[in-house]
């Protein structure tokens, strides 16, 4: 077990360099840290997301077993694998004391849209595994189209005048499933990130849900060296907040000393280029009105 989260980040890598993600992609960072924490005795279910590229696009792979089924059902992959591990342990095929961590990772569209039923089903059954939603706030793999987690006013190729609806608050929905653990993550806060994944890894059986805020230089239209800066501004402005819900009890894990205005975050991103002052006020109100608690 790792006590200091920093230690995890220096552990060996099961995620290979030379991956085919875009320069500046936060998904590479996130997946690398996840792999460092979960280690070699873990098994991945990858859904249709840009993160297929380093994990499943031949000849790239993780250094652990992994399965790509389809876009929607990576939560069901957790269900099938964890059930198989239980029976194979009972039968002595897998040694009873061997810890195998099953996890799934998929995009926001795969998770919040097409896979919503599968996700909700696996969570309601409390099937044993960790689920990571890589929330880059659009369908990026197919070339930047809106998803239900795209924020209001954001440009995508399917919302060329800006998205009308607000961002779906999926962590809140997951917290309502009464699962042992829900947490939000940001690539700008690696210690918070690692600590939460470790915590979930070491909990008893059950469904643990993570949502990783993933600023996408390609889709959000900002320079590729600014990924961490944009990720940090999302948290410092309150656009994205870092919390966990442990067995129903809500806990902010990082609170900005003083919230910055939303405009600081928005102005770095080409996807918000056409916003009027009124639009920005609307976004600021949205952030201000989000009460603390799941989804704040």
């Amino acid at each position: 077990m790792i006590n200091n989260p920093r230690d995890a980040l220096f552990k060996e890598d099961y995620f290979h360099p030379g991956h085919p993600l875009c320069p500046g992609c936060p998904g590479g960072m996130a997946l690398r840290w996840i792999m460092k924490v979960l280690g070699r005795d873990s098994i991945a279910n990858v859904g249709a997301t840009c993160l297929c590229l380093p994990t499943h696009v031949y000849p790239h792979s993780l250094e652990i077993p992994s399965l790509y089924i389809a876009m929607a059902p990576s939560p069901a992959g957790i269900s099938g694998m964890s059930a198989a591990i239980r029976i194979l342990k009972r039968k002595g095929v897998i040694p009873a004391e061997k810890r195998i961590t099953v996890f799934a990772i998929s995009g926001d569209g795969s998770t919040a849209d097409i896979g919503m039923a599968a996700l909700s089903g696996a969570a309601e059954r409390n099937d044993d595994g960790l689920y990571f939603c890589f929330d880059n706030e659009a369908y990026m793999n197919t070339g930047i189209q809106r998803s239900s987690t795209t924020p209001q006013f954001s440009w995508t190729f399917s919302t060329t005048k800006g998205k009308v609806q607000r961002k779906k608050d999926l962590p809140k929905i997951m917290a309502a499933h009464d699962i042992p653990y829900v947490a939000t993550l940001s690539v700008a806060y690696p210690e918070d990130f690692v600590r939460k994944v470790e915590k979930a890894r070491d909990m008893g059986p059950g469904f643990k849900y993570f949502q990783i805020h993933g600023p996408c230089p390609t889709g959000w239209r900002f320079p590729e060296h600014k990924t961490v800066e944009v990720a940090r501004l999302a948290v410092e402005t309150g656009f994205w907040s870092l919390y966990e819900v442990v067995h129903g009890s809500f806990n902010i894990t990082y609170r900005p000393r003083k919230r910055l205005p939303v405009v600081d975050y928005v102005k770095l991103q080409g996807r918000f280029q056409g916003l009027t002052a009124q639009d920005i006020r609307t976004l600021q109100n949205w952030v201000d009105e989000k009460e603390e608690g799941p989804g704040s």
Binding site: R40, D41, S42, I43, N45, C52, T55, H56, V57, Y58, S61, L62, E63, I64, P65, S66, L67, Y68, I69, A70, A72, P73, S74, P75, A76, G77, I78, S79, G80, M81, A83, A84, I85, R86, I87, L88, R90, K91, V93, I100, A117, A118, S120, G121, E124, R125, D127
Partner: protein, 396 residues
């Protein structure tokens, strides 16, 4: 000890799965499959079967969970019907593409609209291109016997493909018949535990399954390997039928069962429960009218026994397919496959298709007899203009 019980086809499937010692059972209810699910849950809950039931939230997830469990090396079973089967469609290709020998009972039901729980074979015939082995059976005993056989076929290293055992809803799934429940020790001997060596997710031997490729380097070759596995499965299906017969005293004929073929001028071919009626008609026409008519019960639709049927039917004047399914715009799926395999430069039997029993419409002894006699009259015709015949359309 083997025992005899009155069982529905659904319960026969559940007993078959229990005898095969299935380990993971993801399922979602749909009429007429539901009793399969309920019976297996009962077996698990009362301790008769050591397995994991996963009450999935959709069939799409059922097949995904089945893929994941089987990829972990657990023997996996599920069952569905109709709309549920179609809901799985995407993941059916995944099971076969990753070469996972999942076994599924397909309790056949009409694909709506019109929506109904009545049966025909249109749901499973529609899945023919998913690279699943499909075997159609005639009664509850055959359902039970085929579940352990299905695992032995699919898990054979020459095959490694998923297998569907298809039987019609209501008429097989819900009517009771006396069924022999096989002796567990003998089944254990016939079907050893599944401990895969090739495809398995194991942290000690990591592999990625379901890879994505960016160019066409391996696509044709991987599909061709599936084709080769399908081809090899023909011999395996026959071997397993032999081994099962030797162990339990029932042989089903493997890919298809042909009767009274020698000297037959007309052959009636069908699949599923209709086999019982058609066989009885053929027998009567031979015994009482002395007509040279033969009978084929097709069991394997995939792999389609093209060469084998060609050898069997090459001498006949006319072959008639009676099938409870249709590819609208073309003809019955079995008829279409048969047409290509009988295709010859020199001489080809007349091939006629009767679309019957859609939506479970009763196909009576009399009707089949009339069909047989009609075709018998036509058997010398040089050609016919209406090879695909929608037989039971009212008001036509």
């Amino acid at each position: 000890m083997a025992t005899r019980k009155m069982l529905t086809g659904n319960y026969a499937a559940a007993y078959g799965a229990k005898l095969a010692r299935v380990e993971v059972f993801p399922a979602f209810p749909i009429t007429p499959q539901t009793p399969v699910m309920e019976k297996i849950v009962e077996f698990i809950e009362n301790g008769e079967l050591d397995a994991e039931f996963i009450p999935m939230e959709s069939e799409h997830s059922v097949m995904a969970a089945a893929v994941a469990a089987e990829a972990m090396g657990a023997r996996t079973f599920t069952a569905t019907s109709s709309q549920g089967l179609l809901y799985m469609h995407e993941n059916l290709f995944v099971a076969s593409g990753i070469r996972l020998p999942v076994v599924m009972a397909i309790v056949n039901r009409v694909v709506g609209p019109p929506n109904t729980v009545l049966n025909d074979l249109s749901d499973s015939l529609d899945q023919r291109d998913t690279s699943w082995i499909q075997i159609y059976v005639e009664n509850a005993q055959e359902v039970l016997d085929m579940i352990p056989q299905a695992y032995r076929i699919g898990e054979d290293e020459r095959v490694l493909l998923p297998v569907a055992i298809c039987f019609e809803g209501i008429i097989i799934s819900h009517y009771m018949e006396p069924v022999e429940i096989l002796d567990q020790d003998k089944v254990d001997h016939f079907l050893p535990p599944y401990r895969p060596k090739q495809v398995v997710l194991d942290p000690d031997r990591p592999m990625s399954l379901g890879q994505i490729v960016m160019d066409d380097t391996y696509i044709t070759e991987m599909k061709y390997q599936q084709q080769e596995a399908m081809d090899r499965s023909k011999a395996v299906i026959r071997e397993v039928d032999e081994a099962f017969g030797d162990a339990f005293g029932r042989w089903y004929g493997g890919l298809f069962a042909a009767e009274w073929i020698d000297g037959a001028e007309v052959v009636l071919l069908t699949l599923g429960s209709l086999a019982s009626t058609v066989r009885a008609v053929v027998k009567q026409l031979r015994d009482e009218a002395g007509l040279p008519i033969g009978f084929v019960k097709l069991r394997a639709f995939r792999p389609f026994p093209a060469q084998e049927l060609r050898d069997c039917l090459s001498h006949v004047k006319a072959a008639v397919v009676l099938e409870k399914g249709v590819s609208i715009g073309a003809g019955g799926p079995v008829f279409l496959d048969l047409s290509h395999c009988l295709n010859r430069r020199d001489r080809m039997p007349l091939l006629i298709d009767y679309i019957v029993g859609l939506g479970g419409r009763d196909v009576t002894f009399e009707e089949v007899r009339n069909i047989a006699l009609t075709v018998f009259e036509e058997r010398h015709a040089d050609s016919i203009t209406n090879p695909v015949r929608w037989h039971q359309v009212r008001g036509l």
